[in-house]
Assembly symmetry: C2
């Protein structure tokens, strides 16, 4: 992991861009580091849709700053494979083109289309997140308990299954879900919080409810709010932070 | 309205039992009254299932004390017709007996059974809540904005439609819902927060989701949590109080 830029935001949060091999990412840490003898700060991994970090930056930094200033959490994100400045790959481009064609033609989005779109992304992104986690937790002041939040929900589900350092997760049910993920969901046992935009035109509400039902976790909450994909109310960010604090502070102490 | 008892709880909350005609009720008010020139305290009407106030008291007083000490809200409840010390009435007793028979026989709970059980309760309880609201808002220190919370959800839906002084509501989706309430739900336009226990054996999950979908409110949130009827997590009470505060403080200022 190599830091490529560093700046102090006006609320004191330290924002550092980094690269991990070819993968760009951003790390945000609170103004005041934990005392030397106290537990390391919890770390929130912020997932996002494959639209490119540049485009997603305003929403990501808003959450990271809130977490750092109000809760003392560190937060980090990385670019998804095939997005932003990262090289495109043919299979993913073809799958995206096929989805656009199907939607434009008003045809049903079949399981094959969804699998081709999502599963290769999961296969590539999950090991990258794990490598980023290795590097992040080795940094001074980090090393505390870890939460994951955001979309792509299938990436989050796979991470929750295979990565034992992720102790808690907040998912955003806003993307297509391959059938196999409903099976993987049964293996998820960490505390979960799932956000669902009730009127999200690009989202299958019933699939989101079925996925929530499938999760094996003993503690899981679904929060549905009115409105479309980008209309998640601000109070859900605040509630999400309290959810992380309930679980990560307990672990970290 | 006649106060029949008064005591100061150890956190300073004033608990007063009252009767309104034949209807018993309880009013909880914060230790420190609002300053004479400040807005009156918001009032939360706490609804509950028809099990009798005595049986429900521990859960009701827990919420009322939290609202009073943490948020400065007043809270009140009244006994439902046919419950607790109030006289039984034949039609309601017959409807309850028929529900028990149907459940014991493993027969489906038909719309007729649900209508007979719930609609007469709604018809009687809603005017009583409105009369209680008249009396409560005339008391010194009250008169602020009003929220309603709890079950019976059909009572809450009807109240939200007919009672303009109720500015916001938190419902508990944990009882049978007559078909006509799905129509009435479309007329509800106040901000709503609906709690759903995902594994509530006595509850129809799909009916609760359909009712949430039917509400006409521009701001509505559904919070589903794992567990049965009485397993609502404590953090939902805290979140519910913040929900009321967001809407009632704004109104009261």
């Amino acid at each position: 992991m190599r830091f490529t830029s560093e700046r102090r935001l006006d609320d004191g949060v330290l924002e550092r861009e980094f690269t991990l091999g070819e993968i760009p990412g951003v790390l945000w840490t609170p103004d005041s580091a934990p005392a030397p003898d106290s537990a390391p700060a919890p770390l929130i991994l912020i997932g996002h849709p494959p639209l490119g970090l540049d485009k997603m930056y305003p929403r990501l930094v808003g959450r990271a700053r809130y977490y750092a200033t109000e809760f003392g959490f560190a937060a980090a994100t990385i670019e998804l494979p095939g997005s932003g400045v990262r090289p495109r790959w043919d299979a993913a481009e073809q799958a995206r083109a096929e989805l656009r064609r199907v939607l434009a033609a008003g045809e049903p989005v079949t399981g094959e289309v969804v699998d081709a779109l999502i599963l290769p992304l999961v296969e590539r992104a999950v090991p990258e997140w794990r490598a980023a986690l290795d590097a992040l937790l080795a940094l001074p002041g980090l090393g505390g308990p870890v939460g994951y939040e955001g979309g792509v929900i299938s990436v989050g589900v796979r991470l929750a299954v295979v990565e034992p350092r992720i102790a808690v997760a907040g998912f955003f049910a806003g993307s297509f879900i391959p059938a196999v993920m409903f099976e993987e969901a049964r293996q998820v046992t960490i505390p979960l919080r799932v956000l669902l935009q009730w009127d999200d035109a690009g989202n299958d509400r019933q699939a989101a409810l079925d996925l929530f039902d499938a999760f094996g976790s003993q503690e899981k909450s679904l929060h549905a709010n009115l409105g479309g994909h980008t209309g998640v109310p601000r109070f859900e960010m605040e509630d999400g932070a309290r959810f992380f604090a309930r679980h990560l502070r307990r672990q970290g102490e």
